[in-house]
Symmetry: C2
Subunit: 294 residues, 2 copies
């Protein structure tokens, strides 16, 4: 049971954690913290939080669990603001989708890597933002990756794990570096392609007509291009090295594919497409086994 949960950033991610823990009966008190008054008032009205403040130091006072759900670009200031205000038994975790930058920000803000910091990343979300988009079931059957550092004490990791498991999530642990590589491949790179494609088409002349003839596949393919641009700018800056490397490598592969197409090498194309279809079908089968839904 969490005595007092401080949610820094009460949007989809933070609000859903609060709702899930409340629903599970695993939290006594929830204080929200953020900059926008309207959003926090809404969170209060919806019963997502019990009170709020705009001051991070005040929010974390007496909290045994602090959850940071702010954009990656705001992490360092948030850590700095809580310094000196944390309870003795406080555990700090976050929901950022890049972990090396969060660890570096914490080290810079605290002067050393706190032993009660458990960097984390719930692999969940929608394209919607704000507390009104949050719901208690967001993390059910979703994966949460924790990346405890060398200085993280095991008890802190155990408490964060228990919190996510209470929300119905499946928790794994891996290194910061490995997390950032995996996410660059499966999330950051696809977002770059979707943003890039939609932007390229939008810049074409007659772009209205082009979009008009886009089929349903296009809608699915580009759904992630409706994601929050500020969040994604921060992800790119935070996970820059891994992501730029991967994007360059992928661009090179697409250049080779373009040459294969220009050369009319049908056998090679069939090989690539078949391998991709097989992997994609296997991946979806795996999901269906786990979640009984496509």
């Amino acid at each position: 049971m969490i005595r007092k949960l401080a949610v820094i950033g009460v949007g989809l991610i933070g609000g859903s954690l609060a709702r899930a823990l409340r629903k599970a009966g695993e939290v006594r008190e929830i204080v929200g913290c953020g900059r926008g008054k309207a959003n926090l008032e809404k969170a209060l009205e919806l019963g997502v939080i019990d009170s709020y403040t705009h001051d991070i130091g005040e929010a974390v006072e007496g909290a045994d669990m602090v959850f940071l759900a702010v954009p990656l670009g705001a992490m360092k200031d948030a850590f700095a603001a809580m310094k000196g205000h944390l309870a003795e038994d406080a555990v700090i975790t976050d929901g950022g989708s890049s972990k090396a930058s969060v660890v570096a920000d914490a080290e810079a803000a605290f002067g050393e890597l706190p032993s009660n910091l458990v960097p984390g990343h719930p692999i969940a979300g929608t394209e919607r933002n704000g507390v009104e988009a949050s719901f208690a079931e967001l993390y059910e059957d979703r994966r949460v990756i924790l990346t405890p550092t060398e200085t993280t004490v095991p008890e802190a990791t155990a408490r964060v794990r228990a919190m996510w498991e209470a929300c119905g999530a499946e928790v794994s642990e891996m290194s910061v570096e490995h997390h950032d590589e995996v996410l660059a491949a499966t999330s950051h790179l696809p977002h770059m392609l979707a943003f890039g494609l939609v932007d390229a088409l939008a810049r074409m002349k007659e772009n209205d007509e082009i979009f008009r003839y886009a089929a349903g596949g296009f809608r699915d393919f580009t759904r992630i291009a409706s994601s929050n641009p500020i969040m994604w700018r921060d992800v790119c800056v935070a996970n820059g090295p891994a992501l730029s490397r991967m994007l360059s490598a992928f661009a090179e592969e697409m250049n080779e594919l373009a040459q294969t197409i220009a050369a009319g090498d049908g056998d090679h194309l069939l090989e690539v497409f078949s391998r991709a279809k097989e992997a994609r079908d296997r991946y979806v089968d795996g999901l269906q086994t786990e979640q009984s839904s496509e």
Copy 2:
């Protein structure tokens, strides 16, 4: 009212046209043609067709409407097989997603461009194949592009337009070249990126783990990578010049984006992502206005 419809290739596309026209009461007799006996037997059993043959010449005998729904790579042989068997009032149309190659194939097979050929492309489909995946509503509120050639007689175009409108589709006309450019941008290029991305991840070591941590956005983004590899090989070969040019240009843009990310140029990233999100949201709003669904 169509007297006799010959559907060459009774899968999702051909089967759905047959079902839709039957449902609309706009066709008297439907003959199916294909290579696989099991699929045609199934089509017969489901009432999608009234009879079938494996011989294209036989299928088109007496048909006033011939619909070709075979892979692009099989078009030329199909045209050649119907030569000399067509009724005097026959109109030929197709569902291929690249039009220049279909026109070239018809010209090669018939020795000249037939005046009763109306190349067409219904912008509809799912990742499923075969007559069992077909359904009468597939084309409702979908766009169908017709690309009549210089030799196409207007009456033939009018009859194909009426056929698609009877299925609930919205019909537009454009040039062959323009169609191929628009489709390269909105369909063929996204398919290359999705196939390419899934293939790239599948070839990484520890790829099972990578797929395990893929979020919901990845599932949507890569859905089209589950499409039929043979069909897509044919599309690439058929629309090779336009597609390879576009894919190379896009790869170059992704290389530039990688450099922007490596340089940590957040302002530029925010600009690209914001422009993309705005275009994507506008596109979906447009769809919702038209179809009242996202």
